[in-house]
C-alpha cells in the first residue's frame, strides 16, 4: 500500500507578532503544520507496522520560498520521498486551487492507496482541502479521524465527534483527515535528519502537472466592526450617581433607550 501525506508549511505561529492588527510574517521561518505532522506520523507508523510500503510527503509551497528545504523534516520523520509543487502562480492560492493542484499531483504519482491530511492547517484551519481533493479524485473520505488502521483493501478509523465516537470503514483508495489525538508525532534525531538528505525529493511546477494556473484570489470585504478609541470618561460621586451618569452617557451615545 502506498500512502501520500499532504503537508502544508506555514509561518511558525509562535514567532508571528501582530502589529496594528496585521500578522507580521516577514522573516518568520516556515514549518510543517501540527496536524500534518500527525498525518505523517500515522503514515510512517503504518509503514513501520508493515501495513504500508511507501510514504510520499506532498507539499504545495504556497509562497514558501524554502518549501523544498522545510519538507526535509517530513523525510527526517520517516517519509520515503517528497514532492514539492512550487510555482510563481501558486504564491497565494485559495483552497480550491490547492486541492486542484494536489489532485493533479496525486494522479501523476504512480500509486496512491491512502491519502492523508491534517483536518485543517495550523494557520487558517479552513478544513477544506482534504474534502475537496477527495471530491476531485472521487474518493471516499473520512474526517476527524483519531485512529487510522489499514488492512487489506480497507481503511478503518475512529472519528472524534462531539459526544460520540464513530467507527467508520472505507474501501481503498480513500482520503483521511486526522485530528491531533491520533498520535504524538516523533521529533527526528540528528541521524534521521542526516539520512533524510539522501532521500528522493522532487520539485514540480504547474507545467509538470499539465494544469492551468489558478484564478487569482479574490478580495474579501472585512466584516469586522470598526475600531473605536476609548472615550476615557471617568464618572465620580456615589455609586448611584455614577450609575446615573453612566446610563445618561450611554443614552447620549445612542447605545441605550433608542
Amino acid at each position: 500500500m502506498d500512502i501520500v501525506v499532504c503537508v502544508k508549511t506555514n509561518p511558525d505561529l509562535e514567532l508571528v507578532r501582530v502589529k496594528d492588527r496585521v500578522a507580521q510574517t516577514e522573516g518568520v521561518p516556515y514549518k510543517i503544520g501540527d496536524l500534518e505532522k500527525n498525518a505523517l506520523e500515522a503514515a510512517v507508523t503504518l509503514r513501520e507496522s508493515g501495513a504500508a510500503s511507501n510514504v510520499t510527503a506532498l507539499c504545495v509551497a504556497e509562497g514558501n520560498r524554502k518549501a523544498a528545504e522545510d519538507i526535509k523534516v517530513a523525510l527526517a520523520m520517516g517519509a520515503d520521498e517528497a514532492v514539492v509543487i512550487d510555482d510563481p502562480a501558486l504564491a497565494e492560492p485559495d483552497q480550491a486551487a490547492v486541492a486542484a493542484v494536489i489532485a493533479a499531483a496525486v494522479r501523476k504519482l504512480s500509486a496512491c492507496d491512502l491519502l492523508l491530511f491534517g483536518e485543517g492547517s495550523s494557520d487558517n484551519y479552513t478544513g477544506q482541502v482534504g474534502a475537496r481533493v477527495a471530491e476531485l479524485l472521487d474518493l471516499p473520505q473520512i474526517g476527524y479521524a483519531r485512529t487510522v488502521e489499514a488492512e487489506g483493501d480497507v481503511v478503518r478509523c475512529e472519528r472524534s465527534m462531539d459526544d460520540v465516537i464513530e467507527t467508520v470503514q472505507a474501501p481503498l483508495p480513500a482520503a483521511v483527515t486526522v485530528v491531533s489525538e491520533v498520535n504524538e508525532p516523533r521529533i527526528p534525531g540528528l541521524m534521521q535528519i542526516m539520512k533524510a538528505k539522501s532521500k528522493p525529493l522532487q520539485v514540480w511546477s504547474l507545467a509538470d502537472l499539465d494544469i492551468e494556473a489558478p484564478v487569482p484570489v479574490r478580495e474579501i470585504e472585512s466584516n469586522l466592526a470598526e475600531e473605536q478609541d476609548r472615550k476615557h470618561i471617568v464618572f465620580e460621586g456615589t455609586a448611584a450617581e455614577q450609575a446615573e451618569a453612566f446610563v445618561d452617557a450611554l443614552i447620549r451615545e445612542g447605545v441605550l433607550g433608542r
Binding site: 502589529k19 540528528l190 541521524m191
Partner: protein, 429 residues
C-alpha cells in the same frame, strides 16, 4: 559511528562564517544550532564594524540585511540629573562605504544561514549538541540527543557560556568577573520618527552610548542603536559588580529607571516594546582567550573570548566573523594536508595573531583592568556634568567669569592625586 568532514557547533556569526568558507571549498559541513533558527537566540547591541571584515567573503556584505549605516556617534555622560552629550557626525564615517551598520541578529544570522545552505552545507536548527566527544585527547565528534556523529574537525562556536568546551576541557569555565550582563529592549518607532529624533538623513543611523549613574557606579553603561524601524535600548553591566552589590537591585530595574529619565523618555515616547533579551558578554580581554585549536577542533567567536568593550567601541561580531573565516582557512589547509591534529590546525592561531583580531585584543590588553576603576562610572561623568552645568548656568547672583567657572571646576574635580593616578593607569589603553 556515522561521520561527516566538519561539524560546526553553534549557528551564530562565528559558526556560520566558518561553515560558509568550508562549504564553499566543497567540504562536507553540518551546522548544529539549538535555536528555532539562526539568530533566534543571539543577542547583540548592536552594530557591526564592517571595515575589518569586508575582505572576507566580499560578495556577501553588499547584500547583507543591515539596518542603518551609523552616521552619528553620541556619547552621553550622566550624573546627578545632568547629561552631557558629545556628538560626532563626521563625513568620514560614511566615506568609502560606512564603517559600521546597526544590525538585527534575527535577520542577519538567518540570512547568513541561507547563504551557507546555498553553498551546500547542512544547517540543522532545533538541534542542541549535548557533548563534544573526546578520545585520547582528541575531539572526534559530537553527541546530540541519542545520536553520536563523528567529524574530522569540530568548530566550537557555541557562544559565550562555553558549556560544551569547558566540560570537554578545551577552555576554562567562564568566571563572572570576566563577563558583563547585556540586556536590551527593542522599541518600535516609525522610520521618520527615528530620523527626526536623532537628526538623521533618511536611511542613516545613530549610535549612542551612556556612561555614569545609569549603572549606579557599576562597571558598564547603556546603549542605544537605531534600526530601520526600531531602536535597541539596553545596558551592559559587569557581573562581578552586580553580584557584589547585594542591595537587591535587579538588572531590569536599572533599565526601567533609565527609560524614565526626563532626558531619555522623549527619545522613546510613543514606541512599542517588541522584544526583551539578555545575554552574557565576554569582557576578560586577551588574557581569557583559551587555546584556539587542538587535535580535531578549533574554537571561534565568543567561545574563544574574542570580544571587547573599549567604552566607546564595543566589538565582538566582527571578531566572530573573522575567526570563523580564519578557522575555515586553517581547516581547509589541514584537510588538504590530511592532518587535522593541533599541528595541522596551527595556522588558525597564526592567522588570528597576525590579523586585527588578536592584535586589537592585545592593544586592548589593559582595558579590562582600567574598567574596574569605579571612578570611571561615578566621578568623571559627574565632574564633566558639574563643570559644563556651571558654565551654562545663569542664576540670581552675579556670575563668576567664564574662565573662572571652568577653572574652579577643573581644580575641584580634575586636579587631584586620584585623577593623576587614573590618568597614569590609562596611559596604556
Amino acid at each position: 559511528m556515522e561521520s561527516v568532514e566538519c561539524i560546526v557547533v553553534g549557528g551564530g556569526l562565528a559558526g556560520l562564517s566558518a561553515a560558509y568558507g568550508l562549504a564553499e571549498a566543497g567540504l562536507e559541513v553540518m551546522v548544529l544550532e539549538r535555536g528555532d533558527y539562526s539568530g533566534a537566540k543571539n543577542v547583540t547591541g548592536g552594530r557591526l564594524y564592517v571595515k575589518p571584515i569586508r575582505g572576507f567573503y566580499p560578495e556577501l556584505w553588499d547584500e547583507a540585511p543591515f539596518e542603518r549605516p551609523v552616521a552619528r556617534e553620541l556619547v552621553t555622560m550622566m550624573a546627578d540629573g545632568a547629561h552631557t552629550t558629545v556628538e560626532i557626525a563626521s563625513d568620514r564615517f560614511l566615506e568609502g562605504g560606512p564603517q559600521s551598520y546597526t544590525v538585527v541578529r534575527a535577520k542577519l544570522d538567518q540570512w547568513l544561514a541561507d547563504k551557507v545552505m546555498e553553498k551546500g552545507a547542512m544547517v540543522v536548527p532545533n538541534m542542541k549538541v549535548d557533548e563534544l566527544l573526546r578520545k585520547d585527547g582528541r575531539v572526534i565528534g559530537i553527541r546530540a540527543g541519542g545520536d553520536e556523529i563523528g567529524a574530522d574537525v569540530v568548530v566550537v562556536a557555541e557562544g559565550v557560556l562555553r558549556l560544551l568546551s569547558s566540560a570537554a576541557g578545551l577552555a576554562a569555565q567562564p568566571q563572572p568577573r570576566h563577563h558583563a550582563l547585556g540586556y536590551k529592549e527593542v522599541i518600535e518607532l516609525p522610520a521618520g520618527v527615528i530620523e527626526d529624533r536623532w537628526h538623521l538623513n533618511p536611511g542613516e543611523g545613530a549610535a549612542q552610548l551612556f556612561m555614569g549613574d545609569c549603572t549606579r557606579g557599576m562597571m558598564g553603561g547603556a546603549f542605544l542603536y537605531t534600526n530601520k524601524e526600531s531602536i535597541a535600548l539596553g545596558m551592559v553591566v559587569g557581573m562581578e559588580d552586580m553580584r557584589r552589590r547585594r542591595d537587591g537591585t535587579e538588572s531590569w530595574q536599572l533599565l526601567d529607571a533609565f527609560k524614565e529619565l526626563p532626558q531619555i523618555r522623549p527619545l522613546i515616547a510613543g514606541g512599542t516594546a517588541a522584544e526583551y533579551s539578555a545575554h552574557a558578554v565576554p569582557e576578560g580581554g586577551i588574557t581569557q582567550v583559551p587555546r584556539l585549536a587542538g587535535d580535531g577542533y578549533v574554537v571561534a567567536g565568543d567561545t574563544a573570548g574574542l570580544s571587547f568593550n573599549a567604552l566607546v567601541t564595543v566589538r565582538g561580531m566582527d571578531f566572530a566573523v573573522a575567526s570563523g573565516y580564519y578557522a575555515a582557512e586553517a581547516i581547509k589547509k589541514a584537510k588538504a594536508a590530511g592532518d587535522c591534529s593541533a599541528a595541522g590546525l596551527a595556522s588558525y592561531e597564526q592567522s588570528l595573531r597576525s590579523s586585527f583580531v588578536l592584535r586589537d585584543l592585545e592593544t586592548a590588553r589593559n582595558i579590562p583592568g582600567v574598567m574596574e576603576n569605579p571612578r570611571l562610572f561615578t566621578h568623571y561623568p559627574a565632574a564633566v556634568g558639574r563643570l559644563l552645568e556651571s558654565v551654562y548656568t545663569v542664576g540670581e547672583q552675579p556670575q563668576a567669569g567664564l574662565v573662572k567657572k571652568a577653572w574652579n571646576g577643573v581644580r575641584r574635580d580634575f586636579l587631584s592625586l586620584a585623577t593623576l593616578r587614573d590618568a597614569w593607569s590609562m596611559r596604556k589603553i
